[in-house]
């Protein structure tokens, strides 16, 4: 096993499990996380064809008891959360006053005035400050990140695998809904969500029970562990943004092409700034692209059109599904799908074409 040693990195409750599986470990978002077990390409393919389990304990969860309007929560999230039925989840953003993205998150409506907010690992402390700053009126906010773990079970076979442990009810969950189930005598939340593009679930379970669940899942036929390496190639093929790389506080959802997750019919923090962006025109746009070869574009490489630099790659990798280099980056001019671009860094030159989202079109997430 290859370990990068740093005293400041946190370990998930599954650290010993990863070591036993000879995972390659590396830092991510302040945590020492498994990057791969048998190999990124094999784990990627297994997730697309069968089912994989990912340790996602590093992500943050906030529990909130609050009226959505009186507490200001509806203003904190770009999506309309007031109309959300109980038992559903919604993807959206928390913005600053300038319209910059503080974080992307999934909001779970647990009850009439009961919520779970699932956020990125590295941004959890800043998110907590942001929530405390903008929540008003009576409310109770708890950072549950230290006690609550999360496993993602992703792939076309995820329903079949998970129902062996929790019963057939889990098969009834539709995309972006969740239910409460019993696992290892604990009442847990399971949602039909994920970050891979495949049919899948996210299970929120206490740290005390997560090791048992991990072992139980891996003992099921066809279920294999997958690391953050495969998670990254899977999400990039779907053009899902990675916070800190494709989006951050200097970018807004309109530039990122994620305006669908912003509801302009209601008020939200950053709305004025985004309306100004709409009026003045979008300065730079995040575009996905596919290389003509297997060569991988990388974060920071320049994007050129007819020899003139027009942008920068934010995410780039080899796509195991397409067997070609793929990526996303911001460009300063409108480019239609099919437009030819060059990706350059020093002596490296990669021909590519602007593509449509998603780059991988056979995902089973909604099926």
């Amino acid at each position: 096993m290859e370990t990068i040693v740093s005293g400041d990195l946190r370990k998930t409750p599954l650290y010993e499990e990863h070591c036993a599986l000879k995972a390659k470990m590396a830092p991510f978002g302040g945590w020492l996380m498994p990057i791969q077990y048998e190999g990124i390409i094999a784990e990627h393919a297994h997730t697309r064809s069968t089912v994989s389990v990912f340790d996602i304990c590093h992500m943050g969860e906030f529990m909130l008891e609050a009226d959505p309007v009186a507490s200001g929560l509806d203003r904190i999230v770009t999506q309309d959360i007031v109309s959300m039925p109980e038992g559903t989840c919604r993807y959206g953003f928390m913005l600053n006053e300038q319209g910059g993205i503080v974080d992307d998150l999934v909001v779970y409506r647990l009850g009439k005035t009961s919520w779970m907010l699932v956020v990125n690992a590295a941004t959890t402390p800043a998110d907590e400050l942001h929530l405390k700053r903008y929540l008003i009126g009576p409310h109770r906010l708890t950072n549950a990140s230290n006690d609550l773990g999360k496993l993602d079970i992703q792939g076309p076979g995820s329903t079949e695998a998970l129902q062996k442990l929790v019963g057939e009810g889990v098969a009834k969950l539709s995309y972006y809904t969740f239910g409460k189930f019993t696992l290892r005598k604990e009442n847990v939340i399971i949602s039909r969500t994920g970050y891979t593009g495949e049919r899948g679930f996210e299970v929120y379970i206490s740290n005390a029970n997560i090791r048992g669940l991990w072992q139980e899942l891996l003992s099921l036929p066809g279920v294999k562990p997958a690391g953050l390496g495969a998670r990254d190639t899977l999400r990039l093929e779907m053009c899902y943004p990675l916070y800190g790389q494709d989006i951050d506080a200097s970018r807004n959802p309109l530039e990122a092409g994620l305006g669908n997750f912003v509801d302009f019919s209601k008020d939200f923090i950053g709305k004025k700034a985004l309306q100004a962006v709409k009026t003045q025109g979008i300065r730079e746009r995040l575009i996905p692209f596919i290389a003509d070869s297997r060569r991988s574009p990388r974060h920071g490489f320049g994007i050129y059109v007819n020899g003139v630099k027009t942008g920068v790659v934010t995410s780039g990798s080899f796509s195991p599904s397409l067997a070609l280099g793929i990526g996303m980056g911001y460009v300063a001019m409108p480019l239609d799908a099919g437009s030819k671009i060059e990706i350059k860094d020093g002596a490296v030159e990669i021909s590519a074409a602007v593509a449509k989202r998603p780059l991988y079109t056979k995902g089973t997430a909604r099926s």
């Binding site: 290859e2 390659k24 990057i35 791969q36 190999g39 990124i40 390409i41 094999a42 390496g229 190639t233 070869s293 297997r294 060569r295 991988s296 990388r298 990798s317 080899f318 195991p320 280099g325 490296v348």
Partner: protein
């Protein structure tokens, strides 16, 4: 870790197999295992002149790109064409089917600057500790 006795090695994890005036070049088991799935190999062109311990190729894995250095100086006489469609051969067979190229050796005395199999094995064991 597989370290064949009949090869010479560099501390940058390249190997060379000398056959008279020519030499096969590639990267070691240790290198391919550290890199993970190899997705692309950028080889020197036939006829290119390479210098000992200087850049001669790029190998890309899913996560990163790495430079490969020539273990000996010489002129590239042929390259492993198979790697353009099947770079994973470097993972599966780093010392045979996954070789990078063949060079005509310029100066055979340069091999004294390389490690033999025992010295290289000791070296990588030291890295793992």
């Amino acid at each position: 870790m597989n370290v064949p006795q009949n090869l010479l090695y560099t501390k940058e994890h390249e190997w060379v197999r000398i056959e008279g005036k020519i030499a096969y070049i590639g990267i070691t088991e240790y290198a391919q295992s550290s890199l993970g799935d190899i997705t692309f190999v950028d080889l020197p062109k036939k006829g290119a002149v390479v210098e000992q311990f200087k850049f001669c190729a790029t190998v890309e894995s899913v996560k990163a790109a790495s430079d490969v250095y020539a273990p000996l100086s010489g002129t590239v006489t042929s390259i492993n064409e198979e790697l353009s469609a099947h770079p994973e051969l470097v993972n599966h067979s780093p010392y045979e089917q996954g070789y990078f190229c063949v060079i005509e050796i310029k100066d055979a005395s340069e091999k004294t600057k390389l490690l033999n199999a025992d010295a290289y094995r000791t070296y990588i064991e030291g890295l793992a500790a």
